[in-house]
């Protein structure tokens, strides 16, 4: 992307370029004015600037603001875990696995089923941590299987076909898994069993719910493990080599097919873990659970620079915080009403904004060699 823009340097600017420039400026202006109006409100709700932007401005208290940031961080780390799958698959195969969000949904569903079974057996209350570990393992296994089967059935036969073909196939896979969940498990939303009080309640420490701390900690730990796997083991080296150039990697004696399966497996396992984190945070799951987090996680992967592990996590955190704080920070001060309904629209807007302003993401993309040349 960077290269292309540089190559265009000498080309005459067309109407589209002017429009894009205008759009970039407009986005930045709206964001800047919104933040300024927010600051003005925070200083004093009666000052003329705040009044002009939103006549009935109230501003936020410090505790509210902190709460928003923390819930953003918790959700963001979940998005980051899902984003890893997008990012790794994109790095290796060069296409967006649209169905990855559905793998996450399968994880959340598996967690719901297993935890309800455990709750029926009475184990969920008596040994919460043990059951949690158990459902995490089950869900990771199931999601790994789903991801690997998906690769084998739908994507492997399409290796080397024009680029949009696997993308369209993955849309089909996503649609299929979603509707399979409807016909097999029913269309209604399903609840996780009740969690212990220490997870539900706010703790004295910073007034954070236990579930949020749990999510952030689990995400951080698994991120660390994954980083070690990819950077310091032989399998991880193979993955990086295949991502760099599959043909050369094959010449070096790396089994490309097996490495790709491994990538899907790791991505699936991370999505399964994220599914359980979703269950802990929201305690409810439905067939369409995977769609929006999937898109947001993809945005996170793009924001962080696709193909970049740390970037995926950083992107996830920024998307999470942006969608949680953004509406109240930028839209509410500008006088837009009912902002909480626009949360998802904000997440999409972040994606579009990033692709407009900095298409290569924060840390730059790591693309397969063929895309760079």
């Amino acid at each position: 992307m960077i290269r292309r823009r540089r190559a265009r340097g000498g080309a005459p600017r067309t109407g589209v370029d002017w429009f894009l420039t205008f759009l970039r400026v407009a986005i930045l202006t709206v964001v800047a004015v919104g933040i300024l109006a927010f600051i003005a409100q925070e200083i004093d709700t009666d000052n003329p600037f705040a009044r002009w932007a939103n006549p009935d401005a109230t501003g936020l208290t410090g505790a509210q603001f902190r709460g928003l940031i923390i819930s953003g961080v918790a959700q963001g780390s979940m998005y980051g875990l899902i984003a890893l799958g997008y990012s790794m698959v994109y790095g290796v195969l060069g296409f967006i696995n649209f169905a990855h969000g559905e793998v996450f949904m399968v994880g959340a569903m598996t967690g719901m089923i297993t935890s309800n079974k455990l709750a029926d057996a009475g184990l969920w209350e008596s040994n919460f941590i043990g059951s949690l570990v158990f459902i995490v393992i089950v869900s990771m296994i199931v999601c790994t299987l789903v991801a690997v089967i998906m690769e084998r059935v739908a994507y492997r036969p399409l290796r080397g076909s024009p680029r949009l073909i696997p993308l369209i196939t993955s849309i089909g896979v996503s649609f299929f898994i979603q509707n399979a969940s409807i016909v097999l498990l029913g269309p209604a939303a399903k609840a996780y069993p009740d969690v212990p009080d220490w997870v539900k309640d706010k703790h004295t420490f910073l007034q954070i719910e236990g579930s949020r701390i749990l999510v952030v900690v689990v995400a951080a730990v698994s991120m660390g493990v994954l980083w070690y796997l990819v950077e310091h083991t032989k399998g991880g080296k193979a993955m990086r080599a295949v991502a760099e150039d599959a043909e050369i990697a094959a010449l070096m004696g790396i089994n490309v097919n097996r490495t790709i399966v491994k990538v899907f497996a790791v991505g699936g396992a991370m999505a399964g873990l994220a599914g359980i984190l979703w269950g802990i945070l929201f305690r409810s799951v439905i067939h369409s659970t995977g769609f929006l987090p999937g898109i947001k996680a993809f945005s996170a992967a793009v924001v962080g620079g696709i193909g970049h592990l740390g970037g995926a996590m950083a992107g996830g955190l920024s998307i999470g915080v942006a969608e949680s704080v953004g509406p109240l920070l930028i839209l509410e001060p500008l006088g837009v009403s009912g902002v909480s309904q626009l949360r998802d629209a904000v997440a999409f807007a972040v994606l579009i904004g990033v692709l407009l302003l900095r298409p290569a993401g924060i840390f730059g993309e790591r693309l397969p060699a063929e895309d760079r040349t």
Binding site: L20, P157, G172, V183, I295, L356
Partner: protein, 617 residues
């Protein structure tokens, strides 16, 4: 496998068709492949059974009293597995075995495995209760599987049925081409008669031919088995007598060139148009409603076809234009619209709608047009969802009514002559037909214009297109706008037809369904796109509109998903492919063929030099 069989000695420049190898023995199977196929079949069977398809579709009878659609869904899998397992991959220079006992035995074994899946399920159903996660784990399913008997009966009977279906599938390979064609035609005739039942009954009523349909169909649905047999016999005889004349005729038409080609095409179009104009006169409400729905989707699919099929831009947010078209038409014509209600006549409103949608197309298109294909897909998806969320939000509910939508939209008045509203589907259909005609003409002319060629060039290789002096950005943007305008026609008609618009009519899944229609029919081919809409929307139904198989409404999205995957894997160029597009998709194979041809020529040249093995695949 390739290594064991010696490559046939080529005689001329073109690789000669090797003589068929002798048949294989019944036990000389590729067991691993067979077991794998059977296992996949078994899993598919269990999935279908647990999806509740058999129970729900049991009410739709196909042949009275033998076969219902529900049981058909269970029979088709072992049949397909049995047929598929006998498939031999044709490789250049490798002789193909003639079909024989091998195919039947293999098919039977494979079918037995697939049927065994249901036997297993019957045992599990009797002994475990998994109703908690699986909603369809019901006694009803067990009863259906056991035909109302004990569990052991189900176990035995599904093994037997599986074996029989698999063997039948394998045996299909034994038939000569002519017999096979006759058999397939017979099956299609009976199945088609059953599927089209509501349509045929409706038309027969309009034409006062009830006597005929009373004979053909049983009182409560389904083809009578006697008349079913008659129909099968008649179609079989016709097919046998026809000897593929239809295909010959088609090939003949395809070969025509110049003036005679134009004349034949004109005649064909005229005939189709005449049928489409006259048919609704005899049809009742149901048929016209169906035709109108199909027409609306033809309009949408033609629009998406320009974006995806011609210009190669994967726009997943196409529903946005449909939504904008519907909403702006609603706001401009309805007296009940919250903020502005100019109550324009429909045709005047349509002009404004086209302008608005074109502008929205520009606005959405301009920022995304420079992105890489896959980013573009996701971002357009985002735009599609943002547009819906904005219509839904409280923020603009003063303009668009929020989740309440806009209701009491008047019908479409045409010059004060008629008023087209949803209460009279026939008029809606004629309106849709008129717009379809416009859209078809526009697409057809565009495809052959300078702009159309530029689109195809951009689709095939953007860099090369740019080097050829095409302004790729403008060209792609134009595709976006033209697609948007065609989508807005459909939207404007939709709001007049339904009489109300709600944000939830414009979910992303509408985009995906349109995409499936375009891909199924054949990207980049107008006839293909129309056929795709007719088959999918007509038979299975649209996102909210019921089709001929109304019982499928719960499963149609699942089927759309599966269809999309299967089409991409097996036939990415679609049902009726566009020549250019399929050439592009099979570039590799064609290159391989050319390479192989070169090899053969080399061999001939060397005159008996060391024969090269067929390329490993």
């Amino acid at each position: 496998m390739t290594a064991t069989v010696p490559p046939a000695t080529p005689t001329s420049g073109v690789p000669a068709e090797p003589a068929p190898a002798p048949t294989r023995g019944a036990l000389d199977q590729d067991w691993r492949r067979l077991v794998r196929m059977g296992a996949v079949g078994a899993v598919a069977q269990i999935f279908i059974a647990l999806s509740n398809m058999p129970v729900r579709l049991d009410e739709r009878v196909i042949v009275k009293p033998v076969l219902s659609l529900g049981y058909l869904t269970l029979l088709i899998v072992p049949f397909a597995a049995g047929h598929r397992v006998g498939h031999q991959i044709k490789r250049e220079g490798v002789p193909v075995h003639a079909a024989g006992a091998h195919e039947v035995a293999g098919g039977a074994a494979c079918g037995a495995l697939a049927g065994g899946g249901l036997s297993l399920l019957a045992v599990l159903l009797a002994n475990f209760d998994l109703r908690e996660p699986l909603v369809n784990w019901s006694p009803m399913l067990a009863e259906l599987l056991a035909f109302g008997n004990e569990t052991w009966f189900a176990v035995v009977v599904w093994l037997v049925i599986g074996t029989a279906c698999g063997a039948a599938g394998g045996a299909l390979r034994l038939l000569g081409p002519r017999t096979r064609r006759a058999v397939v035609t017979m099956a299609l005739a009976v199945g088609g008669a059953a599927v089209l039942e509501p349509l045929v009954v409706d038309l027969a009523e309009g034409m006062r031919l009830e006597a005929l349909t009373d004979r053909l169909y049983a009182r409560r649905g389904g083809v009578n088995w006697t008349s079913g047999l008659g129909l099968a016999a008649a179609s079989g005889i016709l097919a046998a007598l026809g000897r593929g004349r239809l295909q010959q005729a088609r090939a003949h038409i395809a070969e025509l060139e110049g003036a005679s080609r134009t004349r034949t095409n004109g005649l064909l179009i005229l005939a189709t148009a005449a049928v489409l104009v006259i048919l609704p006169l005899f049809a009742g409400k149901l048929t016209n409603e169906l035709l109108a729905n199909v027409g609306l989707f033809v309009l949408l699919a033609l629009g998406l076809n320009i974006v995806v099929g011609l210009a190669g831009i994967l726009d997943l947010g196409y529903v946005a234009f449909f939504a904008v078209g519907s909403y702006s038409a609603a706001v401009l014509t309805a007296a009940t619209s919250p903020r502005i209600n100019p109550e324009l006549p429909w045709l005047v409103a349509l002009i404004v709608v086209v302008v608005i949608t074109g502008l929205v197309g520009l606005f959405i298109g301009a920022p995304v047009i420079r992105m890489r294909g896959d980013y573009l897909a996701i971002v357009t998806l985002g735009f599609g969802e943002i547009i819906r969320l904005i219509f839904l939000s409280d923020w603009l509910s003063g303009w668009f009514g929020g989740s309440q939508g806009i209701t009491k939209i008047p019908g479409a008045g045409i010059f004060g002559l008629t008023d087209v509203a949803g209460t009279d589907p026939r008029r809606v259909f004629y309106l849709v037909l008129a717009f379809c005609a416009i859209a078809i003409y526009v697409s057809w002319r565009l495809e052959r214009s300078r702009l159309g060629r530029a689109w195809m060039a951009v689709r095939e290789d953007e860099t090369v297109a740019e080097a050829m002096g095409i302004n790729t950005v403008n060209v792609k943007l134009l595709a976006f706008v033209v697609g948007a305008v065609l989508g807005s026609f459909s939207g404007a008609i939709f709001s007049a037809k339904v009489g109300s618009v709600f944000p939830n009519s414009f979910l992303i899944l509408v985009s995906i369904v349109i995409l499936v229609v375009v891909i199924f029919g054949g990207m980049g081919n107008i006839v293909g796109v129309i056929a795709g809409s007719a088959v999918l929307i007509g038979v299975l139904g649209g996102p909210k509109q019921p089709g001929l198989l109304a019982e499928f409404s719960e499963f149609k999205l699942l089927i759309y998903g599966a269809l999309l995957i299967w089409m991409m894997l097996a036939r990415p160029e679609g049902l009726i492919p566009s020549v250019r597009r399929s050439r592009e998709l099979h570039q590799q194979e064609m290159a391989q063929d050319a390479w192989l041809k070169g090899q053969v020529e080399d061999d001939n040249h060397n005159d008996g030099g060391s024969p090269k093995a067929a390329p490993a695949t």
